[in-house]
Protein backbone atom coordinates (compact mmCIF):
# COMPACT_ATOMS: atom_id res chain seq x y z
CA UNK A 1 0.00 0.00 0.00
CA UNK A 2 1.27 3.51 -0.80
CA UNK A 3 2.16 5.85 2.04
CA UNK A 4 -0.50 8.14 3.38
CA UNK A 5 -1.26 11.30 1.44
CA UNK A 6 0.12 14.64 2.40
CA UNK A 7 -2.19 17.58 3.11
CA UNK A 8 -1.25 18.98 -0.27
CA UNK A 9 -2.15 15.72 -1.99
CA UNK A 10 -5.45 15.59 -0.13
CA UNK A 11 -6.24 19.13 -1.28
CA UNK A 12 -5.33 18.11 -4.81
CA UNK A 13 -7.67 15.14 -4.66
CA UNK A 14 -10.44 17.32 -3.28
CA UNK A 15 -10.02 19.63 -6.27
CA UNK A 16 -10.28 16.68 -8.69
CA UNK A 17 -6.61 16.98 -9.55
CA UNK A 18 -5.45 13.81 -7.81
CA UNK A 19 -3.72 11.03 -9.64
CA UNK A 20 -5.45 7.65 -9.91
CA UNK A 21 -3.00 6.30 -7.33
CA UNK A 22 -3.85 9.04 -4.84
CA UNK A 23 -7.56 8.56 -5.37
CA UNK A 24 -7.19 4.80 -4.89
CA UNK A 25 -5.23 5.28 -1.69
CA UNK A 26 -7.82 7.69 -0.33
CA UNK A 27 -10.55 5.19 -1.01
CA UNK A 28 -8.66 2.42 0.78
CA UNK A 29 -7.07 4.26 3.73
CA UNK A 30 -9.36 5.10 6.67
CA UNK A 31 -6.84 7.54 8.12
CA UNK A 32 -6.56 9.53 4.92
CA UNK A 33 -10.34 9.37 4.49
CA UNK A 34 -10.74 10.86 7.96
CA UNK A 35 -8.28 13.61 7.16
CA UNK A 36 -10.10 14.27 3.91
CA UNK A 37 -13.39 14.60 5.80
CA UNK A 38 -11.69 16.99 8.17
CA UNK A 39 -10.55 19.06 5.21
CA UNK A 40 -14.10 19.13 3.91
CA UNK A 41 -15.26 20.22 7.35
CA UNK A 42 -12.77 23.09 7.31
CA UNK A 43 -14.07 24.25 3.96
CA UNK A 44 -17.64 23.97 5.23
CA UNK A 45 -16.72 26.08 8.25
CA UNK A 46 -15.21 28.74 6.00
CA UNK A 47 -18.28 28.75 3.79
CA UNK A 48 -20.53 28.97 6.86
CA UNK A 49 -18.65 32.02 8.09
CA UNK A 50 -18.77 33.63 4.66
CA UNK A 51 -22.50 33.06 4.26
CA UNK A 52 -23.79 33.63 7.78
CA UNK A 53 -21.64 36.38 9.21
CA UNK A 54 -21.04 39.97 8.28
CA UNK A 55 -17.68 40.90 6.96
CA UNK A 56 -15.86 42.75 9.74
CA UNK A 57 -15.41 46.45 9.21
CA UNK A 58 -11.90 47.57 8.53
CA UNK A 59 -9.98 48.72 11.58
CA UNK A 60 -9.27 52.42 11.64
CA UNK A 61 -5.63 52.17 12.57
CA UNK A 62 -4.37 50.51 9.41
CA UNK A 63 -6.34 52.98 7.34
CA UNK A 64 -4.66 55.81 9.24
CA UNK A 65 -1.33 54.14 8.66
CA UNK A 66 -2.08 54.05 4.98
CA UNK A 67 -2.83 57.74 4.90
CA UNK A 68 0.32 58.47 6.90
CA UNK A 69 2.31 56.42 4.44
CA UNK A 70 0.69 58.26 1.55
CA UNK A 71 1.46 61.61 3.21
CA UNK A 72 5.08 60.71 3.83
CA UNK A 73 5.43 59.60 0.23
CA UNK A 74 3.91 62.86 -0.99
CA UNK A 75 6.31 64.85 1.22
CA UNK A 76 9.29 62.94 -0.12
CA UNK A 77 8.19 63.56 -3.70
CA UNK A 78 7.67 67.25 -2.96
CA UNK A 79 11.09 67.52 -1.34
CA UNK A 80 12.72 65.77 -4.25
CA UNK A 81 10.99 68.13 -6.69
CA UNK A 82 12.04 71.16 -4.64
CA UNK A 83 15.62 69.91 -4.55
CA UNK A 84 15.72 69.49 -8.31
CA UNK A 85 14.37 73.00 -8.94
CA UNK A 86 16.84 74.50 -6.44
CA UNK A 87 19.71 72.78 -8.17
CA UNK A 88 18.63 74.33 -11.45
CA UNK A 89 18.45 77.79 -9.91
CA UNK A 90 21.78 77.69 -8.08
CA UNK A 91 23.81 76.27 -10.90
CA UNK A 92 27.12 78.15 -10.73
CA UNK A 93 27.51 80.77 -13.40
CA UNK A 94 30.86 81.73 -14.83
CA UNK A 95 32.54 84.30 -12.58
CA UNK A 96 32.53 87.60 -14.45
CA UNK A 97 33.20 89.97 -11.55
CA UNK A 98 36.95 90.26 -12.06
CA UNK A 99 36.55 90.82 -15.80
CA UNK A 100 34.05 93.63 -15.23
CA UNK A 101 36.29 95.14 -12.59
CA UNK A 102 39.24 95.09 -14.97
CA UNK A 103 37.17 96.73 -17.72
CA UNK A 104 35.93 99.45 -15.40
CA UNK A 105 39.41 100.03 -14.10
CA UNK A 106 40.71 100.49 -17.64
CA UNK A 107 38.02 103.04 -18.39
CA UNK A 108 38.72 104.84 -15.14
CA UNK A 109 42.43 104.94 -15.86
CA UNK A 110 41.90 106.52 -19.27
CA UNK A 111 39.51 109.08 -17.90
CA UNK A 112 41.86 110.05 -15.09
CA UNK A 113 45.02 110.18 -17.11
CA UNK A 114 46.89 113.48 -16.73
CA UNK A 115 49.39 113.36 -19.52
CA UNK A 116 47.40 111.35 -22.00
CA UNK A 117 48.91 108.05 -21.01
CA UNK A 118 46.37 105.74 -19.39
CA UNK A 119 47.21 104.62 -15.93
CA UNK A 120 47.69 100.92 -15.66
CA UNK A 121 44.45 99.26 -14.77
CA UNK A 122 46.31 96.73 -12.75
CA UNK A 123 47.14 99.43 -10.26
CA UNK A 124 43.52 99.46 -9.10
CA UNK A 125 43.19 95.78 -9.06
CA UNK A 126 44.94 93.20 -6.97
CA UNK A 127 44.97 89.67 -8.23
CA UNK A 128 42.13 90.34 -10.59
CA UNK A 129 39.92 91.69 -7.83
CA UNK A 130 39.24 95.36 -7.19
CA UNK A 131 41.26 96.63 -4.30
CA UNK A 132 38.92 96.43 -1.37
CA UNK A 133 40.64 99.32 0.34
CA UNK A 134 39.57 101.60 -2.49
CA UNK A 135 35.98 100.55 -2.69
CA UNK A 136 33.53 103.10 -1.44
CA UNK A 137 36.23 105.69 -0.93
CA UNK A 138 36.85 108.89 -2.70
CA UNK A 139 40.31 109.88 -3.67
CA UNK A 140 40.35 112.57 -1.05
CA UNK A 141 40.03 110.07 1.74
CA UNK A 142 43.17 109.60 3.73
CA UNK A 143 43.79 106.05 2.89
CA UNK A 144 46.36 104.18 0.97
CA UNK A 145 44.52 102.43 -1.77
CA UNK A 146 47.35 101.81 -4.13
CA UNK A 147 46.95 105.06 -5.91
CA UNK A 148 49.15 104.77 -8.97
CA UNK A 149 50.12 108.37 -8.66
CA UNK A 150 51.32 108.03 -5.11
CA UNK A 151 50.08 109.96 -2.09
CA UNK A 152 51.96 113.10 -3.05
CA UNK A 153 50.67 113.22 -6.56
CA UNK A 154 47.00 112.90 -5.93
CA UNK A 155 44.83 114.64 -8.38
CA UNK A 156 43.25 117.86 -7.35
CA UNK A 157 39.77 117.25 -8.60
CA UNK A 158 38.76 120.89 -8.38
CA UNK A 159 41.79 121.95 -10.31
CA UNK A 160 41.15 119.30 -12.90
CA UNK A 161 37.59 120.44 -13.33
CA UNK A 162 38.28 124.19 -13.44
CA UNK A 163 41.80 125.10 -14.32
CA UNK A 164 43.86 122.10 -15.06
CA UNK A 165 42.88 121.73 -18.61
CA UNK A 166 45.68 120.63 -20.84
CA UNK A 167 48.10 123.43 -21.52
CA UNK A 168 47.70 123.11 -25.22
CA UNK A 169 44.01 123.84 -24.92
CA UNK A 170 44.67 127.03 -22.89
CA UNK A 171 47.23 127.95 -25.40
CA UNK A 172 44.84 127.41 -28.25
CA UNK A 173 42.22 129.47 -26.57
CA UNK A 174 44.68 132.30 -26.09
CA UNK A 175 45.49 132.18 -29.72
Amino acid sequence: MTPCLSDRALTRVAADLGTPGECAHLAACPACAARSRRLDGQIDAIVRVLTTTREPAPRPAPVARRWVAAGVTACLVAMAAAGISTRHETRPRPERGPQIALGLADITAVLLSVDGEPVSAAAFVRDGVPDAACEGRSRDDDIDCADPLGPDERIDWLRLDATDAPASEHHDEGV
Binding site: T11, I46, V47, T53, E55, R59, P62, R66
Partner: protein
Protein backbone atom coordinates in the same frame (compact mmCIF):
# COMPACT_ATOMS: atom_id res chain seq x y z
CA UNK B 1 -43.62 29.41 -31.25
CA UNK B 2 -41.66 28.75 -28.07
CA UNK B 3 -43.97 27.27 -25.49
CA UNK B 4 -41.44 27.60 -22.67
CA UNK B 5 -42.88 29.88 -19.98
CA UNK B 6 -40.90 33.04 -19.58
CA UNK B 7 -40.17 34.20 -16.05
CA UNK B 8 -41.91 37.40 -15.18
CA UNK B 9 -39.71 40.23 -13.99
CA UNK B 10 -40.80 40.07 -10.38
CA UNK B 11 -40.43 36.32 -9.94
CA UNK B 12 -37.04 36.57 -11.55
CA UNK B 13 -35.96 39.09 -8.95
CA UNK B 14 -37.55 37.20 -6.12
CA UNK B 15 -35.87 33.99 -7.14
CA UNK B 16 -32.38 35.31 -7.66
CA UNK B 17 -31.90 38.63 -5.92
CA UNK B 18 -30.68 37.24 -2.61
CA UNK B 19 -28.28 34.79 -4.20
CA UNK B 20 -26.85 37.36 -6.59
CA UNK B 21 -26.56 39.98 -3.87
CA UNK B 22 -24.58 37.58 -1.70
CA UNK B 23 -22.42 36.58 -4.64
CA UNK B 24 -21.63 40.22 -5.44
CA UNK B 25 -20.92 41.03 -1.84
CA UNK B 26 -18.50 38.13 -1.56
CA UNK B 27 -16.73 39.10 -4.74
CA UNK B 28 -16.68 42.85 -4.16
CA UNK B 29 -16.77 43.21 -0.40
CA UNK B 30 -18.98 46.29 -0.48
CA UNK B 31 -22.75 46.21 0.13
CA UNK B 32 -23.48 49.35 -1.87
CA UNK B 33 -21.47 48.23 -4.84
CA UNK B 34 -23.07 44.80 -4.61
CA UNK B 35 -26.51 46.37 -4.72
CA UNK B 36 -25.55 48.49 -7.75
CA UNK B 37 -24.18 45.51 -9.63
CA UNK B 38 -27.25 43.40 -8.97
CA UNK B 39 -29.45 46.23 -10.23
CA UNK B 40 -27.37 46.39 -13.40
CA UNK B 41 -27.61 42.65 -13.85
CA UNK B 42 -31.39 42.69 -13.65
CA UNK B 43 -31.51 45.57 -16.09
CA UNK B 44 -29.51 43.45 -18.52
CA UNK B 45 -31.89 40.56 -17.88
CA UNK B 46 -34.86 42.74 -18.78
CA UNK B 47 -33.12 44.00 -21.88
CA UNK B 48 -32.33 40.46 -22.94
CA UNK B 49 -35.91 39.47 -22.35
CA UNK B 50 -37.29 42.43 -24.28
CA UNK B 51 -35.05 41.56 -27.21
CA UNK B 52 -36.16 37.94 -27.16
CA UNK B 53 -32.74 36.74 -26.10
CA UNK B 54 -34.15 34.76 -23.23
CA UNK B 55 -31.73 32.07 -22.03
CA UNK B 56 -32.78 28.49 -21.50
CA UNK B 57 -31.97 28.73 -17.82
CA UNK B 58 -31.82 32.06 -16.05
CA UNK B 59 -29.70 30.93 -13.11
CA UNK B 60 -26.40 30.29 -14.93
CA UNK B 61 -27.02 33.24 -17.22
CA UNK B 62 -27.49 35.56 -14.27
CA UNK B 63 -24.50 34.07 -12.49
CA UNK B 64 -22.28 34.54 -15.50
CA UNK B 65 -23.39 38.14 -16.07
CA UNK B 66 -23.00 38.91 -12.36
CA UNK B 67 -19.49 37.49 -12.15
CA UNK B 68 -18.45 39.44 -15.24
CA UNK B 69 -19.96 42.63 -13.86
CA UNK B 70 -18.13 42.14 -10.57
CA UNK B 71 -14.96 41.45 -12.50
CA UNK B 72 -15.30 44.74 -14.39
CA UNK B 73 -16.22 46.63 -11.23
CA UNK B 74 -13.22 45.26 -9.38
CA UNK B 75 -10.85 46.28 -12.14
CA UNK B 76 -12.24 49.81 -12.23
CA UNK B 77 -12.49 50.45 -8.49
CA UNK B 78 -8.86 50.47 -7.39
CA UNK B 79 -9.19 53.74 -5.52
CA UNK B 80 -12.26 52.68 -3.59
CA UNK B 81 -10.55 49.46 -2.65
CA UNK B 82 -7.48 51.36 -1.48
CA UNK B 83 -9.61 53.49 0.83
CA UNK B 84 -11.48 50.72 2.51
CA UNK B 85 -8.90 48.01 2.38
CA UNK B 86 -8.88 45.89 5.48
CA UNK B 87 -6.07 44.59 7.62
CA UNK B 88 -3.44 42.27 6.37
CA UNK B 89 -3.87 38.76 7.69
CA UNK B 90 -0.49 38.93 9.40
CA UNK B 91 -1.61 41.93 11.46
CA UNK B 92 -4.37 40.05 13.21
CA UNK B 93 -3.29 38.11 16.26
CA UNK B 94 -4.36 34.53 16.59
CA UNK B 95 -6.81 33.99 19.44
CA UNK B 96 -4.84 32.86 22.47
CA UNK B 97 -5.74 30.19 24.98
CA UNK B 98 -7.47 26.90 24.46
CA UNK B 99 -11.07 27.57 23.44
CA UNK B 100 -13.49 24.79 22.74
CA UNK B 101 -14.18 23.79 19.13
CA UNK B 102 -17.50 25.60 19.31
CA UNK B 103 -15.86 28.76 20.57
CA UNK B 104 -13.23 28.46 17.92
CA UNK B 105 -15.88 28.07 15.25
CA UNK B 106 -17.80 31.16 16.25
CA UNK B 107 -15.09 33.30 17.84
CA UNK B 108 -14.92 36.82 16.56
CA UNK B 109 -11.22 36.66 15.90
CA UNK B 110 -11.64 33.45 13.98
CA UNK B 111 -14.32 34.96 11.82
CA UNK B 112 -12.15 37.97 11.19
CA UNK B 113 -9.24 35.82 10.16
CA UNK B 114 -11.40 33.73 7.85
CA UNK B 115 -12.72 36.86 6.16
CA UNK B 116 -9.25 38.29 5.82
CA UNK B 117 -7.91 35.04 4.39
CA UNK B 118 -10.77 34.97 1.93
CA UNK B 119 -10.17 38.58 0.93
CA UNK B 120 -6.47 37.85 0.50
CA UNK B 121 -7.22 35.34 -2.26
CA UNK B 122 -6.50 36.49 -5.81
CA UNK B 123 -9.65 37.53 -7.65
CA UNK B 124 -9.95 34.50 -9.89
CA UNK B 125 -9.35 32.04 -7.06
CA UNK B 126 -11.98 33.84 -5.00
CA UNK B 127 -14.49 33.62 -7.84
CA UNK B 128 -13.87 29.93 -8.34
CA UNK B 129 -14.07 29.19 -4.62
CA UNK B 130 -17.34 31.09 -4.22
CA UNK B 131 -19.01 29.54 -7.23
CA UNK B 132 -17.87 26.03 -6.38
CA UNK B 133 -18.37 25.97 -2.62
CA UNK B 134 -20.80 28.79 -1.82
CA UNK B 135 -23.00 28.65 -4.92
CA UNK B 136 -22.48 24.90 -5.01
CA UNK B 137 -21.97 24.75 -8.76
CA UNK B 138 -20.21 21.82 -10.35
CA UNK B 139 -16.76 22.25 -11.81
CA UNK B 140 -18.22 22.28 -15.32
CA UNK B 141 -20.79 24.91 -14.39
CA UNK B 142 -18.09 27.09 -12.85
CA UNK B 143 -16.03 26.72 -15.98
CA UNK B 144 -18.96 27.78 -18.14
CA UNK B 145 -19.82 30.70 -15.88
CA UNK B 146 -16.28 32.03 -15.90
CA UNK B 147 -15.40 31.12 -19.46
CA UNK B 148 -12.52 28.91 -18.33
CA UNK B 149 -11.54 25.36 -19.02
CA UNK B 150 -12.43 22.71 -16.49
CA UNK B 151 -8.77 22.06 -15.77
CA UNK B 152 -8.16 25.71 -15.10
CA UNK B 153 -11.06 25.81 -12.66
CA UNK B 154 -9.65 22.81 -10.80
CA UNK B 155 -6.24 24.40 -10.55
CA UNK B 156 -7.68 27.68 -9.28
CA UNK B 157 -9.77 25.78 -6.77
CA UNK B 158 -6.80 23.75 -5.56
CA UNK B 159 -4.73 26.90 -5.09
CA UNK B 160 -7.53 28.69 -3.30
CA UNK B 161 -8.13 25.86 -0.82
CA UNK B 162 -4.41 25.33 -0.25
CA UNK B 163 -3.94 29.03 0.38
CA UNK B 164 -6.82 29.18 2.82
CA UNK B 165 -5.51 26.17 4.69
CA UNK B 166 -1.99 27.54 4.78
CA UNK B 167 -3.25 30.85 6.13
CA UNK B 168 -5.76 29.56 8.61
CA UNK B 169 -4.08 26.33 9.67
CA UNK B 170 -6.40 24.17 11.76
CA UNK B 171 -8.47 27.01 13.09
CA UNK B 172 -11.22 26.85 10.50
Amino acid sequence: MDSRPEPEPEPLVDAHYGRLRRLCQLLLGDPEEAHDVVQDVFMKAYEARSQSRTPNDWAPWLTRVTVNACHDRRRAGWWARFRRRTDRIEDVPVAAGGPSPVDRAVGEETRRRIWLAFRALPGRQREVFVLRHVEDLSTDEVARALGLSTGSVKRHLFRAVRRLRDTLGDMA
